[in-house]
Symmetry: C2
Subunit: 343 residues, 2 copies
């Protein structure tokens, strides 16, 4: 135990370990790097490892990165972490990364508000690659500027730049929703759409309209709302208060908006699902917290993160990254039912 006068007790370096084990620093590096099939004897290796753990040696990651030029670190750029979906994407990416001795650091892209900091500086680590959500608009230009391998999540196929892409089959999900509701007998729809104008939401609208166009007597009206419960509720209250025939089903771009729709219904005295069906999208924890539970589309968020990481690892290895298109699945719960007989 050295008497630590310094504010920082000077972490031991590989040279300290070498001294303690009576070998050279190079040997320490070989042993701790696992590169000693015939280079270092078992006895020496043992002494080195003992010395390292005695001293509490922990390699200096900055020095290692500098030396290697690679950092085994990826940056994940998401619009917001408070959104459970992206928190799960992170979890998936980090889990797969860990298996390959990779790390994932985060950059929650400021959504317009807040100073748009440099994603790379804020990462605080040299990066080997980037995985970015298409919704993280605030950072996209910077990402394309840096010539790092880039994997895009849920992005418009027409946009250029990414080395690889992982998409969800959003269109199919919306198709499943629509068919479910049509099958129940619904014909008059309200589409509670996100006010955010990104590809993933455009796809939802297209798929909904596409599926309904094939049905003679189906009608749909669209209202937009910011991605929070209150905005969703207010938009639906306004829409249902408006004149004209009342829709029998509300298709929402997101579970959060669906929660708003349910609240609006309850406040207007409409029972869900008997008098009004509501569907969500994402299958957040929220979907099963509500009563009735939401019929929604389950998005494999963790899988998105995993596949994103997988694609990035492939690109870094020079392997081709197979384009990912992940299936989604309608989960029928209690918020949908046949329309009331009167309608």
């Amino acid at each position: 135990m050295t008497s630590a006068q310094q504010p920082v007790p000077a972490r031991p370096t590989s040279r300290d370990v070498a001294r303690a084990a009576g070998v050279s620093q190079a040997t320490v590096s070989l042993v701790l790097g696992g590169k000693w099939p015939g280079r270092v004897s078992e006895a020496t290796a043992g002494r080195v490892r003992d010395a390292a753990s005695d001293l509490g040696y922990r390699p200096n990651l900055a020095a290692r990165s500098l030396r290697l030029g690679r950092t085994r670190t990826a940056l994940l750029v998401v619009p917001a972490l408070t959104n459970e979906f992206f928190a799960r994407v992170y979890a998936g990416a980090a889990a797969l990364a860990a298996e390959h001795d990779f790390g994932v650091v985060l950059y929650p892209s400021p959504d317009g508000t807040g100073p748009a900091r440099d994603p790379f500086a804020s990462a605080r680590a040299a990066l080997d690659g980037v995985i970015a959500s298409s919704m993280a608009a605030g950072a996209l230009e910077a990402l394309h500027g840096a010539d790092l391998p880039l994997v895009m999540l849920d992005s418009d196929p027409s946009d250029t730049g990414p080395a690889a892409r992982v998409n969800l089959d959003i269109a199919d999900g919306m198709r499943q929703v629509t068919e479910h509701l049509l099958g129940l007998g619904h014909r008059r729809f309200l589409h509670l759409a996100s006010a955010v104008d990104t590809w993933t939401f455009a796809v939802r609208a297209d798929a909904l309209h596409g599926a309904l166009d094939a049905v003679e007597d189906a009608t749909v009206r669209t209202v937009r709302a910011a991605l929070d419960v209150r905005a969703g509720r207010e938009a639906v209250e306004r829409a249902l208060a408006a004149a004209g025939e009342r829709p029998t089903a509300i298709v929402c771009d997101d579970d959060i908006l669906a929660a708003g729709a349910c609240k609006a219904a309850r406040r207007l005295g409409l029972r869900v699902p008997d008098e009004l069906s509501v569907t969500g999208f994402d299958d957040l924890a929220l979907a099963t917290a509500l009563e009735p539970e939401l019929t929604t589309v389950r998005l494999p968020a963790e899988r998105v993160g995993e596949r994103g990481m997988e694609a990035l690892l492939a690109v870094l290895d020079g392997r081709p990254a197979e384009p990912g298109r992940l299936p989604v699945r309608l989960v029928v719960r209690g918020s949908t039912a046949p329309p009331a007989a009167g309608a």
Copy 2:
């Protein structure tokens, strides 16, 4: 668009910038580091900056860290990011950090499941300090082992080690809840407690019992559940199905559990709040997504993150970190009301 034959197009270094600007590397470092009050002429500085932006120069963070020994990077250890509370703590910490040119990287401590990876290795960057939630049990030993400045969030005052501490006044929050319900006339309580056994939950139980002990005819029963909606619902269903006088109010350790309690009530045909009052804790987005909206205790999650970062910065500067005790506030919404006349 350069034709990239190399796998990595060799990012420009400060030396490349120096060459392009016709100066020495040291000058580039001075200019870009902002250390040129009288060291470098305005004209030269301009040339350097132009060259840097022409080449798209971006300092190598690993090299900088190695040189400086400090990284201006903190690790935030949380139990889970999908928990909105901790996502908000992160947001608060990161926001304040950014103002001080600090970065925050995350380690979501595996909750028992999953391989407990080394938090420091997984940080992928040399660290200046650590901010850890007391709930992140999976990583605490490792954190104490490393001699890094440590700030603990919401931790038991009796445990040792941390350089600083930021606590929420949980006890006061629970007191406010209890008094609110007592004031409404409730006397028979059910406490839906977290099965997780950490200090923050122990405090809730103590405060609740403390406040009720002062009231002659008040009774309380406790049931425990894991921190998810379903577990909460099931626990409450079992409790309410049991024989004996039915409680008129359910005090929950957490909004998520409260959502479960509300579901249980609805399934049992009990109207909230008319026949049963329910309170939460945390004021998550979920609290206002439910109908009726939850009466709950608002925790300033972002402030917790901010204060944690503030304390860490103070410790790193050698300043004393004033112990933080953040106030919390009861938010009365629609899930509480006087008990039914019959009771």
